[in-house]
């Protein structure tokens, strides 16, 4: 650790990180940054992070904090008049060609340029020349749209592909005021990490096509959660519009798992949270097929069926949380049932050595530690062949087992489905809606053993009880029955 002085206070700074990191950590006043990103190599192209540094007997100098290494005895003043003026002039030049798009820009509200311009308070430009005209709707592949006028050429996106994704695709092409971000020969971007460049863009130049004009960011409620698309379990923030609709999923900094990044596969998988075809309420088979019944009746019937003698199987989804898994385990111990979790085939083409593990079970490790054994989705039918009562528990378990396999199960099996969606199957005796991953709390353990918390981002549809409550209700009925018999 190196001892330096920032704004009159002696602090310990990490010599491996640039001066701006120490300023962000210790100074009360925020040193602005556009080109610097803690996860990328600093280049010092935007010059907005200038601070005044005094070394020894030398007169103080204004330097860019992101390209200055920390050294012993530095005296840093982030708010010195010289440094502040230099920053202000940089800002004015950046705004010279920046279009007044804030009312239609998707970044407005979380835009670094907007925030710092606002805090500087210079509302009107002094330039009389017209702003440069460049292409405003340039498509960079299926995910990203580039607005060249808004770009301030910080080159964060270029460095992301070089440093993090390790597959350089973008570059700064052209000279002077005609410099633009571009791919080689206008080829579309490829790879599974394109969405990140829209996150790290400090202005609204790179935007997600899927989020384009979907919502104003200040209207989104942000809920910390965990991605369930692979066993990495990246920390994410689920952003919900008007408490109903998930509009976007963004990575949340987590030093153990995903740092600042996440893959497009997980980022754009949120449509499952907005699905309309949810299984709501309880159903039991009556004279006219499945009939809606009260939740109590479904719990009674499920407990009754589990209490009978026979071969019972509790087949759970790999999306089940540890807490729910414990309840299922207790249920299995009370009834002597076999428990397995469905393990779908791995997405080998998505697997890479950065984030995506290719294993679509977000809680494989947590469930394995609880004593659940995996069963391949393809082998489920053979495994269930001799069973008398089968309970499928958890979000998207029916989808993973496949609807065809469910429909093909013989009528001798009494099948109960606790899922987010309904499936038609002749063996189906009862069904009950469960909340999805954006509607419940719990813990998943990722492939490296790090826990990831789920948080309630939006309310479950009316008539969908929390899965933990449903499992407890069945357990209580089983316990009560056991007492009566004893």
């Amino acid at each position: 650790m190196t001892k330096i002085t920032i704004n009159g206070r002696e602090v310990e700074a990490d010599p491996k990180r640039p001066l701006i990191a120490a300023c962000h950590e210790h100074a009360e006043e925020l040193v602005p940054m556009y080109c610097y990103h803690p996860g990328l190599t600093p280049v010092g192209s935007c010059r907005i992070c200038q601070v005044e540094v005094k070394m020894g007997e030398m007169p103080p100098r204004v330097v860019v904090a992101c390209r200055t290494p920390v050294s012993e005895g530095m005296v840093v003043n982030t708010e010195a008049p010289g440094a502040h003026d230099a920053r202000r002039q940089c800002l004015e030049f950046l705004l010279k060609n920046h279009p007044l798009d804030c009312p239609i820009c998707d970044k407005a509200g979380e835009c670094d340029l907007q925030d710092y311009s606002f805090s500087e308070g210079q509302g009107e430009g002094r330039s009389v020349e017209p702003r440069r005209k460049l292409e405003k709707r340039k498509s960079l592949g299926d995910t990203i749209l580039l607005d060249q006028e808004r770009c301030i050429l910080c080159s964060r996106c270029v460095r992301f592909y070089e440093d993090v994704a390790k597959q350089p695709q973008l570059t700064v092409a052209g000279l002077g005021s005609r410099s633009v971000i571009s791919t080689f020969a206008d080829r579309p971007l490829h790879g599974n990490y394109q969405g990140n460049i829209a996150d790290i863009c400090p202005v609204g130049a790179l935007t997600l096509k899927k989020f384009r004009f979907q919502a104003r960011v200040w209207n989104l409620d942000k809920h910390p959660s965990t991605c369930g698309e692979c066993s990495r379990g990246c920390s994410i923030s689920i952003e919900v519009l008007r408490r109903r609709e998930v509009k976007r999923v963004r990575p949340r900094y987590d030093k153990d798992k995903n740092k600042w990044w996440m893959c497009d596969h997980g980022r754009f998988a949120f449509d499952r949270f907005n699905a309309d075809d949810r299984l709501v309420g309880g159903f039991l088979r009556g004279a006219q097929g499945l009939e809606p019944k009260s939740l109590e009746r479904v719990f009674d019937d499920l407990a009754e069926n589990l209490r009978r003698k026979g071969e019972h199987v509790l087949l759970v989804s790999p999306w089940l949380t540890v807490e729910e898994g414990e309840l299922v385990r207790d249920l299995a111990q009370a009834t002597g049932a076999t428990t397995r979790f469905v393990s779908p085939a791995a997405d080998t083409d998505l697997r890479d050595d950065f984030l995506h593990t290719g294993d679509p079970c977000p809680n494989r490790r947590g469930l394995t530690e609880l004593g659940f054994e995996a069963v391949e989705a393809a082998d489920v039918s053979t495994m269930l062949a001799g069973a008398t009562c089968v309970v499928l528990v958890g979000e998207s378990v029916g989808e993973l087992v496949t609807p065809e396999a469910l429909a093909a199960l013989p009528r001798s099996i009494r099948l109960f489905l606790l899922d987010t969606r309904a499936y038609a199957a002749p063996a189906l005796r009862g069904a009950l809606g469960v909340p999805d991953a954006s509607e419940r709390t719990g813990t998943w353990i990722n492939v490296d053993g790090h826990p990831g918390r789920l948080a309630i981002a939006k309310a479950a549809p009316d008539g969908v009880p929390p899965l933990e409550r449903s499992l407890r209700a069945v357990q209580e009925r089983l316990d009560a029955g056991a007492e009566v018999r004893a």
């Binding site: 009312p103 239609i104 104003r216």
Partner: protein
């Protein structure tokens, strides 16, 4: 405890008849004075450009497209949460337009914050003040009910600019 002493009535007042005559003379004189009662449903309310009536959306010169770009600033400025906006993409030069723009007139308190917040001169307080319907749902106005040609709001727009200029000149920050 307060004891109120009543005023002693004079002889003329105790006689009553002169007082009745005096009162009637007031009534008779009022018959010939100009009438100040407004016959409301038949006769409209007096409005001018200062009237802050219900907010309305302006159309551009072509009288078809809305000036609104659905930036959501009125939505966020609205203290009564009366405005709901969803945006969508268009092919025009300004790439964004409202897909849904609803003002719940039952919530609207006619404060005019939306007018002040709007960066695109797209929403102004009209001189329309009357609001009645048979259902609550009918009073949630959508784009079709809100849009007005710019000419219909021109007086208010001119007044708005006049007041803004005066305010800007008087403030010392410029």
């Amino acid at each position: 405890m307060v004891i109120v002493k009543r005023k002693e009535l004079s002889l003329m007042e105790r006689l009553f008849l002169p007082e009745i005559v005096r009162a009637l003379s007031h009534s008779f004189r009022a018959i010939f004075q100009p009438k100040i009662t407004r016959q409301y449903p038949e006769e409209g309310l007096p409005t001018n450009e200062v009237t802050r009536g219900q907010p309305r959306l302006t159309l551009l010169e072509d009288n078809e497209t809305l000036a609104c770009v659905s930036c959501g600033l009125c939505e966020v400025a609205c203290p009564a949460y009366a405005i709901t906006i969803d945006g969508q993409e268009t092919d025009r030069f300004i790439e964004r337009e409202p897909e849904r723009f609803e003002i719940d007139m039952l919530r609207c308190i006619l404060c005019g914050f939306c007018e002040e917040a709007c960066p695109k001169d797209a929403i102004f307080m009209s001189d329309e003040l009357e609001l009645a319907d048979f259902t609550r749902a009918a009073l949630v106005y959508d784009i079709d009910k809100l849009k007005r040609p710019k000419a219909a709001l021109q007086k208010r727009i001119d007044y708005f600019y006049k007041v803004n200029d005066r305010w800007r000149k008087s403030s010392s920050t410029s």
